[in-house]
């Protein structure tokens, strides 16, 4: 039985640390129960991996909208010139529970066309 003590301690230690870890920025930390729709002009665009990101000047505040990986964006038709700065976007998605000004987009509408991002 003794030979199981060390590995068990290692596993238990890792699990404890994992449970105690602060919520960071992961995909688990979005509030799917309270979706929001953010509409306004695109102020900045980062067409980068692992996720493209835009900031949108909505009436109430500037939202950071997390989109999809660039390859998926392109595959779904939402390439960099579609989500370009200055275009008006409507993003439906879930607000972050960590950063009040960030949301993760389920889908976006630009120029009357809707792009599914999941």
């Amino acid at each position: 039985m003794r030979r199981f003590v060390l590995p068990t301690a290692v596993v238990a230690g890792a699990c404890l640390l994992a449970a105690g870890a602060f919520a960071h920025h992961g995909w688990g930390s979005y509030d799917a129960a309270n979706p929001v729709t953010v509409t306004g002009p695109i102020q900045t665009l980062k067409f980068e991996n692992p996720h493209a990101e835009i900031t949108v000047k909505a009436p109430e505040k500037v939202w950071t909208v997390t989109l999809a990986p660039t390859s998926r964006m392109t595959a779904r038709g939402a390439s960099a010139d579609i989500v370009a700065v200055g275009k008006t976007v409507s993003a439906y998605g879930y607000p972050s529970t960590v950063d009040r000004n960030e949301m993760r987009a389920e889908r976006i509408t630009v120029g009357g066309k809707t792009y599914e991002l999941r």
Binding site: L17, A18, H24, G26, N49, S71
Partner: protein
């Protein structure tokens, strides 16, 4: 990008290399897939060594199994480090502050120390043993520890995205 990270990681993420990885259509994706494939090869090679040391496949020559599997493990580990560095550089300032990533790095250090212990204390005793020979007790102990550590490392890798 977060300025809360030590300056070197902020600079790493902001570097031309970091930008190139993020802006390339293929680099991040390729590194991500390559990391998983390297992990499969590494886990397989490690499992072969550890299972042999736990008494499975006892009809084989332990020295031969260890030599062949070690070669595969070293190549796979190199792949893990290269692809892992690519993923890390792209998001260095965030990832370095991620508690699970820090736990993962610590566990990798423990795993590597466990390998050193194995190579120093076990390999010399078992590499020339014929098949079907009982192995020393520490061979089994270190092998079980090894499997436990590397499973935790893999779990931490996946968990980075959720914390």
């Amino acid at each position: 990008m977060t300025d809360a990270a030590p300056a070197i990681f902020v600079a790493l993420e902001a570097s031309a290399l970091g930008a190139a990885i993020r802006q390339s259509t293929w680099a991040y994706m390729t590194a991500n897939v390559g990391h998983i494939l390297s992990l499969m090869a590494f886990a397989g090679a490690i499992a072969v060594m550890d299972l042999r040391m736990m008494g499975v496949l006892s009809a084989t020559s332990p020295g031969y199994i260890l030599r062949m599997a070690r070669r595969a493990a070293v190549i796979a580990f190199t792949g893990l480090v290269l692809t892992g560095l690519t993923l890390f550089i792209a998001e260095a300032s965030h990832v370095v502050l991620n508690r699970i990533f820090q736990v993962k790095l610590g566990l990798i250090a423990v795993g590597l120390a466990n390998i050193v212990a194995f190579e120093v204390w076990v390999t010399p005793k078992v590499q020339n043993l014929p098949p079907r020979t009982p192995l020393p007790k520490e061979a089994r102990r270190i092998a079980i520890t090894s499997i436990a550590i590397w499973f935790c490392v893999a779990a931490c890798g996946r968990l980075i995205a959720y914390f």
